[in-house]
Symmetry: C2
Subunit: 344 residues, 2 copies
């Protein structure tokens, strides 16, 4: 990675941006070096996660939001990261959807990036965070992250957003109540899209009830990933008074999009004023450091302790000759003694 490429990215060159995104996504050495340098230029972008089941019209909503954000803030840039395999951005949708995406392509201040989700479950959140950082450093003011709300990995993805929007549609049965409960916990804003369909009022009432029952209780504290790691509490605020509003939209007709955009911008203001913007940023930095720390400690361990020892201990455990705890004690002692030797 030449610094010329990074400079080109800083000047708004889309090809340079695209190349660096690929390097980062592929985890090349050059990509990681670029990411480390670019990190120092991050901290401005408003990251907005949009999640919901397939068929809820997330992509159309993301499209509409991008357009409205650009209309309201003509000097600001919008990035879209699609981590949803059914998204038209990533190639899983109908021709109609694809055509709808095209009008975004004409706006040079909008950049769309899709990510493969299949097969990369474990590291999806980290990867999305890395791409967000590149966009942030490249001067993108809004980063829209679209993901299907289907599991923990998606929850992890949207957890890195400042604002999480959960999209539902009218008439979704009670069958998936507990799934929605899990997703509701991370919602800052709820959207009932396709609100021209029958059953919209029941859906709104249903969501309202779930919120009142406390399903959205634990939102916004920014501490999800850090339960066993050190943290200061100075930026935690007692004023966690944001109650997720429920909005109705018909994204394909651009209905309700202005109101939704208004609420998104209000949420950003709320986060900044309440100190939660700062707290969220800190939480993601702590999670990042923790992740790198564990990777490094395990790497050191793997250098200090021969694989044969690990394997023979696993075998002993599998024979029930020793407990896993005993195996860990042996490994830790070996690791400690060997790192002493190598440092002397």
């Amino acid at each position: 990675m030449t610094s010329a490429l990074l400079d080109a990215l800083r000047k708004g060159n889309r090809l340079a941006l695209s190349r660096i995104l690929s390097q980062v996504e592929n985890g090349t050495e050059a990509g990681m070096a670029a990411l480390e340098e670019l990190f120092l230029e991050t901290g401005n972008a408003h990251k907005i996660g949009i999640t919901g089941p397939p068929g809820s019209g997330k992509s159309t909503l993301v499209n509409a939001l991008a357009r409205e954000l650009r209309r309201r803030e003509p000097n600001k840039k919008v990035a879209i990261i699609a981590v949803d395999p059914s998204s038209p951005f990533t190639g899983g949708a109908l021709l109609g959807d694809r055509v709808r995406m095209l009008d975004l392509q004409d706006d040079t201040q909008i950049f769309i990036r899709s990510m493969a989700s299949r097969g990369a479950l474990g590291g999806l959140a980290e990867q999305t965070e890395a791409l967000s950082q590149v966009f942030d450093a490249a001067g993108y003011d809004f980063v829209l992250i679209e993901t299907v709300g289907a599991g923990q990995s998606e929850v992890d993805v949207v957890n890195l957003a400042h604002t999480t929007i959960v999209v539902d549609t009218p008439g979704t049965g009670d069958d998936i109540q507990s799934i929605k409960a899990g997703i509701l916990e991370i919602a800052d804003i709820l959207v009932v899209n396709k609100a021209d369909r029958p059953g919209v009022d029941q859906s709104v009432t249903h969501l309202k009830n779930m919120i009142e029952m406390g399903y959205a209780r634990s939102i916004n504290n920014g501490k999800h990933h850090l339960q066993d790691f050190r943290e200061t509490s100075e930026h935690e605020t007692a004023s966690a008074h944001w109650v997720p509003p429920i909005l109705k939209t018909v994204a394909c007709e651009f209905k309700g999009i202005q109101e939704l955009t208004e609420v998104i911008l209000n949420h950003a203001a709320y986060l900044r004023e309440s100190g939660q913007w700062h707290a969220k940023d800190q939480a993601s930095i702590r999670a990042n450091i923790r992740r790198q720390l564990i990777a490094s400690l395990l790497k050191d361990f793997n250098q200090n302790v021969p694989a044969d020892l690990v394997n023979s201990l696993v075998e002993e455990v599998q024979k029930r000759a020793i407990s896993p705890n005993e195996a860990v004690r042996v490994l830790l002692t070996y690791n400690r003694n060997n790192s002493l030797e190598s440092s002397e």
Copy 2:
């Protein structure tokens, strides 16, 4: 924890079992010591995970399975771990369901244990594994683990099972296709319960199509948790030829239960013959060791490195004065130097 209590457990005392389960579930020192000792007596139990959306009749199915397993194998014991908040075992269901559970309580060779799932997301799989080990050591031959199929944590829970059964019902819409896709990946056996309802054949066809489309491809390799940890491949087999069968049941009328039980026992035989039983056991041991190793390395780190240093570095990163990578390098150097000093 007295060894008298452990001896009582070994002799089949249900009160002793119950007490030890509580100690283990609460993570007390005595519980952890008991678990370490009991581990050496594990390795026999067939762990069977049952997952599916709320309303699919999982609990009734688990109930019926327990009864049928006892009928077929009168000398064997059955444990049930319910980690589903909507399960009648854990207290989330209607009176009718509760009454249906009562007939299991009369069989002293069946033991039911419910676990609170809410709020313990991160460690649910570990906790379930620990309880399974206690049951295993206490001589329970079958451990049925019931969980709602709603997210990654549930996937983790059933991943520890030898046999994973995914339960569906007729007429579930296409809306949650990708959710089912995620769950299908872990299925060894598919059950369409409530098969007396309309739409059962479409459901079977739909599931069959999804399997043929490869959604269940990555099953049974037992390597989910171990991507970046050492492992031998000697027990991996090339004979991963189990294609998940699809069965129809009406659990509340005991229809299809004998066939399902037959398939479950066949699957156990298949696992043993193909070497996958051994591979799964090894994978869970490696995951266990890895988990303990990371916890210990982080504990050492926290002893070596003062919290003030961590916090001041986080602050520098948050100011974008240094990168997270740089902070990690400083922390690792400090950790290394300090552990040298304390060992001298």
